[in-house]
């Protein structure tokens, strides 16, 4: 049984973790002569949000192994092996701060967080200790978050492109219904979607948050469908929640397009509904087992090989965070190799002066207008649509350009949700 296999790798991981922990107490000179640079995954490893943290941490480890195999990181001619350390922040801001302290004590050079609810306590500490950090939530950026980068995903900025595409292919749609869970992910997503719908002439007929502890989605879907929407946006809900929502939409007789950032469980969605029902649904994440992935994700070294290796080491654990932490590391690696240093101020200056490649190609630093700081690496982003049961890239758009064209609406919708940097408590 494959079970046994899994146990072995986990046990190895456990031993590795013990080694890391005991290394914490020991001076690093005791270890082998290879130079080592530490990067840290500061994410929930226990509790229900471990479903983000663990694949992210595992992805970072797979990436580090791949890099080390091919010679590590080259800093001014010296080779460094990357070592991933991790800390369970439990998605509680205060615990995450404890992790940051542990990382500083361990001389971690680059920290990755999921962002959102767990960043808030970190900011002062990060500035005090010049702790270079990456987040997956661009909305964590603010004028004083000097050492925080959003180098990969600028959630939710691609949603505008999605509505634009939808308007292009479906000129007759009029109404939209939205729902998401009541947390910072849900709120930033829906705020941006609303702006998108405003910008492209949709009327929002139903708009509600649900609590994270919701288990049965039938009542939520029936109250959404009561408004008879042409389009339904269930974004950004957790993968398994999205599946239940889609299933409810299907059983309650909805016919129309569904919008969701990831559609991570598309095969299950198709199994539970039908190919015809899912046809045309719009998302923003290409498959990594797509034969053309290396061409579209050209800022990521060997995306297809990385995916294969991950599946081998951690079968059935893949989700989008699995490549997003490595994506953050790719950007950092480019920066370090160009700057020739790990020192945060010099590295940051060099990164700003030579914008690194983003996972989907060329990119630039951006964010001043909305977040007061140019720390988001924005490039193009793909729009994918479901065709015959699996997603295909249908268009690649410029996120920043869409924002430039509609920034007044975005700001208005962000203000409503108190998401602007000057509104933060």
């Amino acid at each position: 049984m494959s079970r046994i296999n899994l146990h072995l790798t986990r046990r190895q991981a456990l031993v590795g973790a013990v080694a890391t922990t005991s290394a914490l107490a020991m001076p690093s000179v005791l270890r082998a002569a290879n130079k080592i640079v530490k990067v840290g995954a500061l994410a929930p490893l226990t509790g229900d949000l471990a479903l983000w943290g663990i694949p992210a941490k595992n992805g970072a480890e797979v990436w580090a192994n791949q890099v080390n195999k091919t010679g590590g990181i080259n800093v001014k001619g010296e080779r460094y092996d990357v070592q991933v350390v991790s800390f369970d922040g439990a998605y509680v801001a205060e615990k995450t701060l404890q992790g940051a302290r542990a990382f500083v004590d361990q001389d971690v050079k680059y920290t990755m967080v999921i962002g959102g609810d767990d960043w808030s306590a970190l900011q002062d500490f990060s500035n005090r200790n010049k702790m270079l950090t990456s987040t997956l939530y661009v909305s964590d950026l603010n004028p004083t978050s000097k050492y925080l980068l959003a180098p990969v995903e600028v959630h939710p900025f691609y949603f505008g492109l999605g509505v634009e595409y939808l308007r292009k292919v479906e000129p007759n749609l009029k109404t939209a219904a939205l729902c998401a869970q009541d947390d910072i992910t849900g709120r930033t997503s829906l705020a941006y979607w609303r702006a998108g719908f405003d910008a492209h002439g949709f009327e929002i007929v139903s708009d509600a948050y649900f609590d994270n502890s919701t288990t049965d989605f039938a009542p939520i879907v029936s109250s959404m469908l009561q408004a008879k929407p042409d389009t339904v946006c269930i974004d950004t809900t957790y993968p398994s929640v999205a599946l239940l929502l889609v299933e409810q939409l299907f059983t309650q007789g909805y016919k129309g397009r569904i919008l969701h950032a990831g559609l991570e469980l598309l095969p299950d969605m198709v199994a539970r509904t039908s190919k015809e029902f899912m046809e045309g649904s719009i998302a923003f994440f290409p498959r990594f087992d797509d034969p053309n992935i290396n061409a579209s994700a050209n800022g990521f070294s060997d995306a297809a090989g990385f995916y294969k290796q991950f599946e081998k080491q951690f079968p059935k654990q893949w989700n989008n965070t699995s490549w997003e932490f490595p994506g953050c590391l790719e950007v950092w690696k480019q920066g370090v190799e160009t700057a020739g240093t790990f020192e945060p101020d010099d590295l940051l200056a060099s990164l700003k002066a030579n914008p690194p490649k983003h996972i989907f190609g060329a990119a630039r630093w951006w964010g001043k207008e909305l977040f007061g700081i140019d720390n988001a690496l924005v490039g193009n982003w793909p729009i994918v649509a479901v065709k015959n049961g699996s997603v295909e890239i249908v268009e690649i758009g410029d996120q920043a350009a869409w924002f430039e064209a509609h920034k007044a609406i975005v700001e208005k919708r962000f203000r409503e949700e108190k998401l602007m940097p000057d509104q933060k408590r």
Binding site: S213, T215, L243, L244
Partner: protein, 288 residues
């Protein structure tokens, strides 16, 4: 109108599954005077067992359902024999032990089935009942029917069999029951197995509807404690009535407002009842 009917049916299903969970909790409190915090995790185990036996081994939903009941019953009996029996006079100690069991079961599920796995259980009766624009998946009706059946059977057992008589005797007065020759140990074990099996049955019935995860028991146990307080601790009739009241209230508030407001309103409803009747709707009055 159609929306109203749908919401009523959704409330009925929520009531049914909550009632199954809560009756087990009330039963175990009545007999053993223990608040079992791991009850939600037994519900979780029921859902996983249904997937493992029914879906993964391909034996079909009803085999999975039977397996879920069996597995949780054995687990419940084991918890009683190995742990709770040794702490019979120490309710706070027993409470901590159930929290320990909760942590072990959650961690175990995450370890064996993976944190990110999306396990799907197919409903035994697929398809949707459609009546003039109104849609209701058949499985929701199956849940309601199954819960009514199980609860009726339970009532019959408790009212007519010797076991039921002994169980009620222990719940009323342990020492007197002991004098009557009733073995407290055997009754406690059976009650725990029965209570766990009820949670397992609920988890199994809900498996095709909810998301199966190691933490799926948490919202369930919180709801269950609220309901059990509403109904009056230890009163099974009270538990069922309260399950229906609370679930219906919650479902309606969540469709007309949102679920966060429904949570707050639910908590306030419980507080309001307690202020008027400090021992719940059907609980026995107690000394203050």
């Amino acid at each position: 109108m159609q929306f109203l009917v749908e919401t009523v049916l959704n409330s009925a299903m929520a009531s049914a599954s909550t009632a199954l969970v809560v009756v087990g909790l009330a039963l175990i409190f009545g007999v053993m005077r223990i608040e079992n915090f791991a009850h939600g995790e037994l519900y979780m185990v029921g859902a996983y067992a249904t997937w493992l036996f029914g879906t993964s081994f391909g034996a079909g939903y009803w085999v999975g359902f039977a397996a879920a009941i069996l597995v949780t019953a054995v687990l419940g009996a084991a918890i009683e024999i190995l742990l709770l029996r040794r702490l019979r006079n120490n309710p706070m100690g027993a409470l901590i032990v159930t929290i320990g069991v909760l942590l072990i079961l959650q961690t175990g599920a995450a370890w064996f089935f993976g944190i990110n796995s999306n396990l799907l259980v197919d409903a035994p009766v697929s398809g949707v009942l459609s009546l003039g624009g109104f849609n209701m998946p058949w499985h929701r009706i199956v849940v309601i029917a199954a819960a009514v059946l199980i609860l009726t059977a339970l009532t019959v057992i408790l009212r007519t069999t010797k076991f039921g008589w002994a169980l009620r005797a222990v719940a009323q007065d342990k020492d007197a029951a002991n004098l009557q020759g009733i073995s407290i140990g055997r009754i406690s074990m059976s009650a725990m197995a029965l209570s766990a099996a009820l949670a397992g049955a609920a988890g199994s019935l809900m498996a095709p509807i909810v998301r199966i995860s190691p933490f799926m028991g948490q919202p369930v146990i919180i709801t269950a404690f609220i309901v059990i307080i509403l109904g009056g601790i230890g009163s099974m009739e009270g538990a069922i009535v309260a399950a229906v009241i609370y679930s219906t209230f919650f479902t309606f508030v969540s469709v007309y407002f949102d679920t966060t407001i429904a949570n707050v309103a639910g908590l306030c409803l419980m507080l309001a009842v307690l202020i008027v009747k400090p021992s719940g709707l059907m609980g026995k009055a107690q000394k203050v």
